[in-house]
């Protein structure tokens, strides 16, 4: 179909880019989710007044472009603190906070969706706060939160395309480098798009399926 100058070496180059995309995404999603759960539970437990500073900071991460977050973090670390961090570290750090900011909202929403009456019933049976959290709230909140969380993880994967700005060569950047060299933009972009799509689409479907199934009972 396509008469292409693409070589096996180029394909390996693309595959490395894809590997980088997945690696950055995995690190950010794992760390960001842990932080997000901590922030979310903290916000719910302590109440809006005392957590206002945290709420504000998390909101900032959701209100300015990721590209600017990356540039700012990089400039702050390099120019201001004179810490020589790799672009990879900066990318993972920023994406982690970015993930945590959205994840905290999802977690809070999940906890709030657990009816107070259910929790009172648990506590009245003599369960401690921790036992109530682990045995009652977590399983119920997870049902509400999991579909949104899948969406978030996929969102982070797609947004990780922006870490090129701190010199991390992920999939889209690899594609662009090849485009410049081979001058076959459409073909290369289609390969790149197909990769994202093939990972994202089935998982998004799974999220939608879980949401439908769990909203019925």
């Amino acid at each position: 179909m396509f008469d292409t100058a693409l070589t096996a070496a180029d394909l390996v180059f693309l595959a490395k880019g894809a590997g980088m995309t997945l690696l950055v995404t995995a690190i950010a999603v794992v760390l960001g989710t842990i932080l997000g759960i901590l922030f979310g539970v903290f916000r719910y437990q302590v109440g809006p007044w005392w957590t206002a500073p945290l709420t504000f900071v998390l909101d900032v991460f959701r209100s300015i472009p990721l590209l600017i977050q990356l540039v700012l973090a990089n400039a702050f670390m390099g120019m201001v603190l004179r810490w020589q961090l790799s672009g990879f570290t900066v990318a993972c750090g920023v994406l982690t906070m970015y993930t945590a900011a959205y994840c905290a909202e999802i977690v809070r929403g999940g906890i709030e969706a657990v009816p107070m009456t259910t929790r009172r019933a648990a506590r009245s049976l003599g369960l401690s706060w921790g036992q109530d959290m682990v045995n009652i709230v977590m399983p119920l909140a997870t049902r509400v939160a999991l579909p949104s969380w899948i969406g978030l993880a996929l969102g982070v994967m797609k947004d990780s395309a922006l870490v090129y700005v701190v010199q991390v060569t992920e999939l889209l950047k690899s594609t662009q480098i090849l485009i410049t060299r081979l001058q076959e933009p459409l073909f290369l972009l289609l390969i790149c798009g197909a990769f994202y799509f093939l990972i994202s689409f089935p998982l998004a479907r799974l999220g939608g399926y879980l949401e439908r199934r769990w909203s019925h009972d």
């Binding site: 209100s63 300015i64 600017i68 994202y196």
Partner: protein
């Protein structure tokens, strides 16, 4: 405290240029939302039309928009279409890319909203002699837009943030593009981008606040 002297004055001196950029950013975001909403309504009608072809077109659009990076979509609108000999300006490519993305996400929001509207509403419209399209337009759609108003506000915020991606296709008149060019002149990277961040933050907050006012005025039922 730091071994670095902040030079905020230098950055602030560039504020007028950056605000001009912010206007361009807002313009692209608003335009892409207006077009995105219209296209999303069209996609929604396609999905309800019962036609296999129209449904396939709409589904493909929605799934590609939601399952690939926005940056990829903007690249397609710029480098991708260039393969067909179509050379679009950065502004046009950016606008098309964001509009495509908006329409896909909004169409999905609309689908969710429609689930909350009982079928009996459309039926009541039909029983008064309306055509299916009239019944959708006058009975179902206004309710759909109300239910989807919050997601629409979020999408508008996304649209503002997405304009920053225009720089990758050579856009240099929007807020991010202007900031980047100023950075190349002055090397006050942190100060300039921090200022840009503040402007972006204020823009998104204004949009969210404005949306609340509009909702309070428009949806009195």
């Amino acid at each position: 405290m730091f071994g670095y002297t902040f030079q905020w004055k230098q950055a602030l001196a560039r504020l007028p240029q950056m605000l001009d950029g912010a206007l361009v950013t807002l313009q692209i975001a608003l335009l892409s939302m207006a077009l995105g909403i219209l296209l999303a309504i069209l996609l929604t009608v396609f999905r309800r039309s019962g036609s296999r072809i129209l449904n396939a077109i709409a589904t493909a659009w929605v799934e590609i928009a939601r399952n690939t990076p926005a940056l990829f979509q903007i690249y397609m609108a710029h480098f991708g279409v260039a393969s067909f000999g179509i050379h679009l300006s950065p502004f046009t490519s950016l606008l098309i890319g964001i509009t495509f993305n908006n329409a896909g996400y909004l169409a999905e929001n609309f689908r969710g909203a429609l689930k909350a509207i009982p079928d009996t509403q459309a039926r009541a419209g039909r029983s008064l002699g309306m055509t299916p399209l009239q019944s959708f337009r006058y009975v179902v759609m206004p309710q759909m837009l109300r239910i989807a108003f919050l997601p629409m506000t979020n999408q508008m915020v996304w649209a503002i943030l997405m304009t920053s991606l225009g720089v990758t296709v050579g856009m240099n008149t929007d807020l991010y593009g202007v900031t980047q060019d100023l950075n190349a002149l002055t090397f006050r990277t942190f100060e300039l981008f921090a200022l840009a961040a503040v402007i972006f933050y204020l823009m998104t907050k204004t949009v969210q606040f404005g949306a609340r006012l509009i909702a309070a005025r428009m949806f009195r039922y």
